[in-house]
C-alpha cells in the first residue's frame, strides 16, 4: 500500500462525518485497513470518536426547578445595582457642582476682599520712613518736626 493511498484514507475520514461515509467508501476503507496498521488505528479512532459523541448527544441536562427563580433574582439584583449606580453618579455630579460654586466664591473673595485688606494695611504703615519721605499717603498730617525726627532716626538706625 503506497503512502499516497494511506493518506487518502485518512483524508476521507477527516473530510466526512463518520455517519456520512457511504457503503462504497467503507468498503474501500476496510480493504485498505486490512493491511495498513496506521490507517486501521485512524479508522478505529474515528469510529470510537463518533460513538462517544453520539452517546454524548443523547444526554441532556434538564433545568432545575429553581432555575427561573435564580435568574429572575439575579435580574432584579442587577437592576437594583444599576439604579444604585445612577444614584451614586447623580450624587457625585451634585458634589462636583457644589465644589465648583465654592471655588468660584473663594476666588471672588480673593479678588475683591483681599486688595482692600492690603490697602488698609498700607495705611497702618503710613509713617514708615519711605512713606514719610515720599509722602505716599498723600496727606499733610505729619509736621516738619515729625519728618525730621523720622529722617534722622532712620539714619541713626543705619549707622548702628
Amino acid at each position: 500500500m503506497s503512502q499516497k493511498e494511506a493518506r487518502h484514507i485518512v483524508t476521507l475520514i477527516e473530510n466526512t462525518p463518520f455517519a456520512g461515509l457511504s457503503e462504497a467508501e467503507l468498503s474501500v476503507i476496510r480493504i485498505h485497513t486490512a493491511d495498513c496498521h496506521a490507517c486501521r488505528l485512524a479508522f478505529e479512532a474515528a469510529y470510537v470518536s463518533t460513538m462517544m459523541l453520539k452517546e454524548r448527544a443523547r444526554e441532556s441536562v434538564e433545568p432545575s426547578p429553581f432555575f427561573q427563580t435564580r435568574v429572575l433574582a439575579t435580574l432584579r439584583e442587577q437592576e437594583a445595582t444599576e439604579s444604585w449606580s445612577l444614584d451614586k453618579l447623580w450624587r457625585a455630579a451634585g458634589a462636583l457642582a457644589s465644589s465648583m460654586v465654592a471655588t468660584v466664591a473663594l476666588l471672588m473673595v480673593l479678588t475683591f476682599a483681599l486688595p482692600a485688606t492690603q490697602e488698609s494695611s498700607s495705611r497702618v504703615n503710613a509713617y514708615s520712613p519711605e512713606a514719610v519721605l515720599m509722602n505716599e499717603a498723600g496727606d499733610d498730617l505729619s509736621s516738619d518736626s515729625q519728618v525730621l525726627s523720622t529722617l534722622y532716626g532712620a539714619e541713626e538706625d543705619l549707622v548702628k
Partner: protein, 195 residues
C-alpha cells in the same frame, strides 16, 4: 413576538414565560459544551441575562428559539475561550470503566451490541473529557456535526462563520479528536477490524 415585546416593556412574568418555554433548549445546547451540571446552569443563566438585555435587538424575523440558540452558542464559546484551561487526557488518566468501554469498542467495532445505559454514561463522559482537551471551536463543531448531525449550512447559520470556514474547522477538529482518541487506543495493541 408578543412575549418579547411585553418582556422588553418590563413585564417580568412575560420573561419568566420565555424562560419556561425555552430553557430546556438552552440547557440542551449548553450541556454540549460543559460536563458539569453547575457549569451548564451558569451558562444558561448567562444566556437569559444576555437575552433580557438584548431583547431590543430581537426583531421577530426569525424564531425566538433560533435567536436564543445563537446567544447560547456565542455565550458558551466565550466562556470556554476565557477559561483557557484544557486538561490533557492521556491513557493513564482513564478510569477502569472508560478503558473497558474502549476495549469493548475495539472488539465490537462494526456493531453496537453491548449498548446499555451504564455504558452510555461512560462513553458520554469520556467524550466530554476528550472534548475538554480540545479548543472550544473544535468542541462546538464536533458536538454539533458529529453528535447532532448538523449540516455545514446549519453550522454556518449558528455560528455566523462562512460555509468554507465550517468545513475547514470540521476537518481540523476531526483530525485533532482522532489523534487524541488514537493516543488512548494505542495503549494496547489494536485488534483486527471486524465487519
Amino acid at each position: 413576538m408578543e412575549l418579547a415585546r411585553s418582556a422588553r416593556a418590563g413585564d417580568e412574568s412575560a420573561f419568566a414565560e420565555i424562560m419556561r418555554r425555552y430553557s430546556p433548549r438552552v440547557f440542551h445546547y449548553a450541556s454540549r459544551f460543559f460536563r458539569q451540571r453547575n457549569q451548564v446552569e451558569d451558562a444558561a443563566q448567562e444566556v437569559f441575562l444576555k437575552a433580557f438585555t438584548e431583547l431590543g435587538s430581537f426583531e421577530g424575523r426569525g424564531s425566538m428559539e433560533g435567536w436564543l440558540t445563537r446567544i447560547t452558542t456565542n455565550t458558551c464559546l466565550n466562556m470556554l475561550r476565557s477559561s483557557k484551561r484544557r486538561p490533557e487526557l492521556t491513557a493513564s488518566n482513564l478510569t477502569e470503566d472508560e478503558s473497558t468501554w474502549l476495549d469493548d469498542q475495539m472488539t465490537d467495532l462494526a456493531a453496537e451490541r453491548h449498548r446499555s445505559a451504564e455504558r452510555s454514561v461512560v462513553a458520554a463522559d469520556l467524550a466530554g473529557r476528550v472534548l475538554e482537551s480540545l479548543p472550544p471551536d473544535d468542541r462546538l463543531v464536533l458536538t454539533m456535526m458529529e453528535g447532532e448531525d448538523a449540516s455545514v449550512r446549519e453550522m454556518a447559520e449558528l455560528t455566523g462563520w462562512s460555509e468554507s470556514k465550517v468545513k475547514v474547522q470540521a476537518f481540523r477538529a476531526r483530525r485533532r479528536m482522532r489523534r487524541a482518541v488514537e493516543k488512548l487506543l494505542a495503549r494496547k495493541p489494536s485488534k483486527q477490524l471486524q465487519d
